[in-house]
Symmetry: C2
Subunit: 708 residues, 2 copies
């Protein structure tokens, strides 16, 4: 039936059937062994996904694997990376742990990869140690005022800057190697002792815990920009890779970091550089205190990482749409972890498997087939830079761009038990609210996920008053990146998260360590798996609404609200600036573009409101849906940010100019021009305003039938 | 009615109503005065279009003007450009004509612009003259082997290289100025005398005739790449413009060219450099023969061109679609001329006005409304580089890309009376054939345009046997460029053209001169205007089929035929080369992409054949139509040709490697790598093959419902 709409009672059946015990079971299965990308454990999860998605009673219409040949970086199992303190007479005075301490069989698994910085070059730099805070440009700049950094090794805390940036920012000063660790202040609310404070006694990171990670600034396979990494695809020369550390970098646990930092000489670092150790964080002499046992000693890194082309798999599944099979709702998460990855990513994978199990049953029982097609993606090699999802987006660029209604990402499904967290384009705000109102909050019988969320995080909307705060997908933090920034597809990301009054941890403390296990997840993150269940219900509800609603549940007037807020900030920035007159002129045009967008959105809303869509000709509904679906594509400009790989969306691209809530290209160019005052920089600012005006006008036109 | 299909009897009514006398009337009106872009005459044509498209009895639903502020280049009316021969004692021995000779009131119009090279820099270079044939890179290379070109003025014939290239290619050798002229051999079948051979006695160019033109290699407004040239739009600094002459260049008539060339000293140039003058074309001493009256004299250019931002208008009109208003068929031509522009562009504008008059009557009489929307564009400032159409494409990029079914261009409607000429994507071949079979050939009562065409220009198709040859839109010769190369929209270009056994003229001889007048058109190009009528019927027939057919009349299997032919040439080129092994590997993948495209096309054709579309649900027809409409978009890659402005279509981009009928990026990269043998050049060739494979696979996927 062409005019079939969402069936609310079927939606309720879906939500009722979402089973926390099943999620627990999926998580237990998925986390039996480490499953780093392209490892034997990863292959086992591929087969696990295939088996479930091909199941006769609860599978999808079709499931398949899709391989890419991608450039990954690993430590050498036969020559582990080392960090040592070396006395002038070459005696080794201290050796950092090479593996995290074991508290059970999970950590003993020989497949646990040594902590390392993926894409760090190999090398054995040695030098006097300095403390560089978070490794931000401003940190090295300040440090360089006090010290000669040439030939030094810098130690940084995680946070404040991207992983690779800590080394990229250091190299110009002559730093030869970098160490990075999680400071107990940032990750453990200050706690440090594994005799009673840290895991296995709590969710906190044990002293030997190390956050692994990918150290690159660009996403996707590094050798195949804009091309899907098939076997015969052209690969750029390795020396042309940009955005990776130019000098060796290695992560260590805070127990070793303490040994090094507590002995540092030199002046004491500023207050906001101080971390959680019971010592003063000094800059370094460079090097250690004269009175230290390490006095005059160097720190030496031995990094033996090597890069290799590996076969990485996405597992794809599809439920074909009955009425509009050429419209796709995509739901995805990565499958690969650093170690057992119970929370990252298997909490999300378990949620996805439960969503597909329940939908698969409805499908196989003949009770349901979606109006639109639903595609599920279990992405490979996300941890190395969102590779599987990005290669997929590159391969099917036009098809996905023309047909995809929305992308839903659930990576880490549960960070903590307090509240829903949701991010996405403003057009999905109401859709998320509708879903969140229909799901009960875990542990709170009479409260909805929505009402609970409203208590934890809210804002005042000009249109609606106080509403929960939906975040923006401005970065490249998970697999939504290629969908948002490269394809311009409406996207969302869901999780359950913290009560920020209870912890200041940067992220859940076992993140990317050997402690992110089923034991950890089931004891400290979500005992009973009811937060997982709430996320599955919410994300599944959103998925069904997108797949089955006659009219796409996307609200473009809410997008106008964000554009207006961004414009207001831009106008303020401009008023306080010394911009030349042509900028003022261009900003008037930008304002008129935002006004046109608002009026086009209002008009479309009125057309929708005044139409009896179920009784209109089906092509009218399709036309409106196409307007809603494709509007975001007009925000793409492949010329806008030539220096930012894969960022084409002029509203959501990342910004380096701080947190002002405004258009990123405007913010960055304006900050630069305001600070330099150079004519060429004002030219760039003007260009960004013109790019924005054209994109916003173009998006407004996507909502309009005519041209005037 | 959602399933309404094309009404063949209405189509016949349309064709019957197309009136050669009306076309003649439109042409007479449009050519009363010169109407160079942004001149008073141009403004008069704007109003003329508006008046007709707003007519109560034969107008469109809506018509409006749309302005852009564009960068144009003009000669200084108060200080005309001069070309002189200057003796060593500074005596002026010869002065080239500043205006073309008058044979009637048209040439006397004070608004006739002096012949000039738009975008030539101003300057007064002076030096010894050399003859550089067509100004190709190979011409200057050869000349440079014989002569020291530093400080010389080069004279070139039109043809063989783009206008601007004649100066761009010269500058690296130290040439300081360039003259260009139309050689009688190339334009006049050798004829030269205006006492009985040239206009007003025939269609041939009089001795003082000069082809004006835009001397730039990039299309669109030169100051606003990728941005519509609105008033407040960011403009690049003038010194950053690329693709324009770095040294002054000026066109002259062949009567003055003869005076110069016949006196040149030095060795005689090769046979294929010889033109139609009754003298030997020498290289130049440099400079004139010792025995010449000009011996030891220089040639001096005085070019006073200046550039200015001007307001240029497109006139737009729309007939709204009844069933699918959000699908556009666009029909366009430029409105601006160099002088009176009877043939270029007013022959096409008259044809467009007749098409809109007949459709407008049907519309206003309530007899017809198209299924899809039809947009008409009367573009401004085409002569300066396709500016109006390109700025329009930039402004509405996403909207046009998502909704446009096809673009039809009729610029010069009639070059000559012999046969139809049609170019376009291979998917429109059958559509054009169908239309051409329904139109009778002018002057041949019982022959169709199709049968007549088949006699003049044909090829053997593997699928159909002998068929008329449809050309490809690989260049940027008229306003289809932005639609094909920037937007990836299915496009066509129509005209009536020469019997090549009767003339070798590069183009009709009055092209871009002051002789391209109503008198010229009606006496020598199309007396009776029946060729105009045939073009109006053919293009209108195509337009109606695209606008009204239930199923879009686009054939993707015919596209496969071209891809296969291109692939076969690529395989041959590869077999004869010393390409490294990874290229062979990549070519296998390219072949598999072409195979996938073929099988996807076959499958889609079968789905179409086996469907009773009028009785299917309307969304199925829409789905198939979307597949047909959007397939070409997958061939766009904004990264493919960073050095070619506005060229993104990997099948149709222009190629600089000669005429091999294969993928342009492949052809160019392969030619370069084969000749240099450098590893980096083979990398580039490999990259082009990967870009092609991904685009062709992507296009195949646009034809497929699923992913496997
Ligand atoms: Ca890639
Ligand atoms: Ca422009
Ligand atoms: Zn993750
Ligand atoms: Zn992760
Ligand atoms: Zn023209
Ligand atoms: Zn022209």
């Amino acid at each position: 039936d062409v005019s079939r709409d969402l069936d609310e009672s079927l939606l309720q059946d879906f939500m009722d059937a979402v089973d926390n015990k099943k999620i627990e079971g999926f998580l237990r299965d998925l986390t039996k062994v480490p499953h780093m990308a392209t490892s034997a454990g990863d292959e086992a999860t591929v087969e696990y996904m295939m088996q479930h998605w091909n199941d006769q009673e609860s599978g999808l219409d079709q499931a398949w694997r899709q391989n890419y040949v991608v450039y990954l970086s690993f430590p050498d199992p036969k020559k582990p990376n080392k960090v040592t303190v070396v006395a002038p007479n070459t005696t080794v005075l201290h050796t950092a742990r090479e593996r995290e301490k074991s508290y059970g069989p999970d950590q003993d698994d020989p497949e646990v990869v040594q902590p390392y910085a993926a894409y760090s070059p190999a090398g054995t730099p040695q030098g006097k140690l300095v403390y560089a805070n978070q490794g931000k440009p401003s940190d090295y700049m300040l440090l360089n005022k006090t010290l000669d950094l040439r030939g030094t090794i810098a130690i940084c805390r995680y946070g404040g800057a991207g992983r690779a940036e800590k080394a990229i920012n250091a190299a110009p000063y002559g730093v030869v190697g970098v160490l990075v660790y999680s400071d107990p202040l940032d990750i453990n609310d200050g706690l440090m002792s594994d005799s009673n404070e840290t895991y296995p006694h709590s969710w906190y990171m044990p002293p030997s815990g190390v956050e692994r990670g990918s150290f690159n600034t660009d996403y996707g396979d590094l050798l195949t920009p804009y091309l899907a990494a098939k076997e015969s695809t052209y690969r750029i020369p390795v020396q042309n890779i940009t955005g990776i550390p130019p000098i060796p970098i290695q992560p260590i646990g805070f127990e070793d970091a303490y040994v090094l930092i507590s002995q540092l000489g030199g002046e004491s670092a500023p207050a906001n550089w101080q971390g959680g150790f019971n010592c003063t964080y000094n800059y370094g002499g460079p090097g250690f205190k004269p009175a230290s046992q390490f006095s005059n000693s160097d720190v030496k890194l031995e990094v033996f990482n090597f890069a290799k082309l590996k076969n990485s798999s996405n597992v794809m599944g599809i439920i074909r749409g009955s009425v509009e099979p050429d419209r796709y709702v995509i739901y995805g998460n990565h499958r690969d972890s650093w170690v057992h990855g119970a929370i990252d990513p298997s909490s999300g994978t378990s949620v996805m498997l439960e969503v597909t199990r329940v939908l698969g049953r409805l499908l196989k029982q003949g009770r349901w087939r979606p109006r639109r097609s639903i595609i599920f993606g279990s992405w490979g090699a996300e941890e190395f830079g969102l590779i599987g999802s990005t290669e997929y987006a590159e391969q099917y660029y036009t098809k996905l761009s023309e047909r995809t209604v929305a992308y839903i990402n659930v990576d880490i499904a549960v960070f903590a038990n307090a509240t829903l967290r949701a991010s996405g384009m403003p057009s999905v705000q109401n859709l998320i609210f509708t879903a969140a109102k229909q799901v009960k909050a875990p542990g709170l019988e009479s409260t909805s996920v929505y009402d609970n969320w409203l208590r934890y995080s809210n804002r005042t909307s000009p249109a609606y008053g106080t509403v929960p705060r939906v975040g923006y997908l401005t970065g490249a933090g998970s697999d939504y990146a290629a969908f948002v920034h490269y394809l311009g597809i409406t996207a969302m990301d869901f999780s359950y998260t913290y009560d920020r009054t209870k912890t200041k941890a940067r992220i859940y403390p076992a993140y990317h360590t050997a402690y992110d296990t089923f034991d950890y997840a089931s004891r400290y993150i979500d005992p009973g798996f009811t937060s997982h269940q709430a996320v599955a219900r919410t994300a599944g509800n959103v998925l069904l609404r997108l797949a089955d609603s006659l009219l796409l549940p996307l609200n473009v007037s809410d997008y106008a609200e964000t554009l207006e807020a961004y414009l207001a900030t831009a106008l303020e920035l401009h008023q306080g600036s010394a911009a030349p007159p042509q900028i003022a002129h261009a900003i008037v045009f930008l304002k008129s573009a935002v006004d046109l967008f608002r009026s086009a959105a209002t008009q479309l809303d009125q057309i929708i409101k005044s139409s009896d869509l179920a009784n209109e000709i089906p092509l009218k509904v399709r036309r409106i849906n196409d307007q809603l679906m494709l509007m975001d594509r007009a925000f793409l400009d492949p010329q806008a940010f030539p220096e930012k790989y894969g960022f084409r969306h002029v509203i959501w691209a990342s910004s380096s100019s701080g947190n002002a809530a405004t258009f990123p290209g405007f913010a960055d160019a304006f900050a630069r021009a305001s600070s330099s005052g150079l004519e060429g920089d004002w030219f760039r600012a003007h260009r960004q305003i013109s790019i924005l005006s054209q994109a916003i006008n173009g998006a407004a036109h996507m909502l309009m039938d005519g041209f005037q």
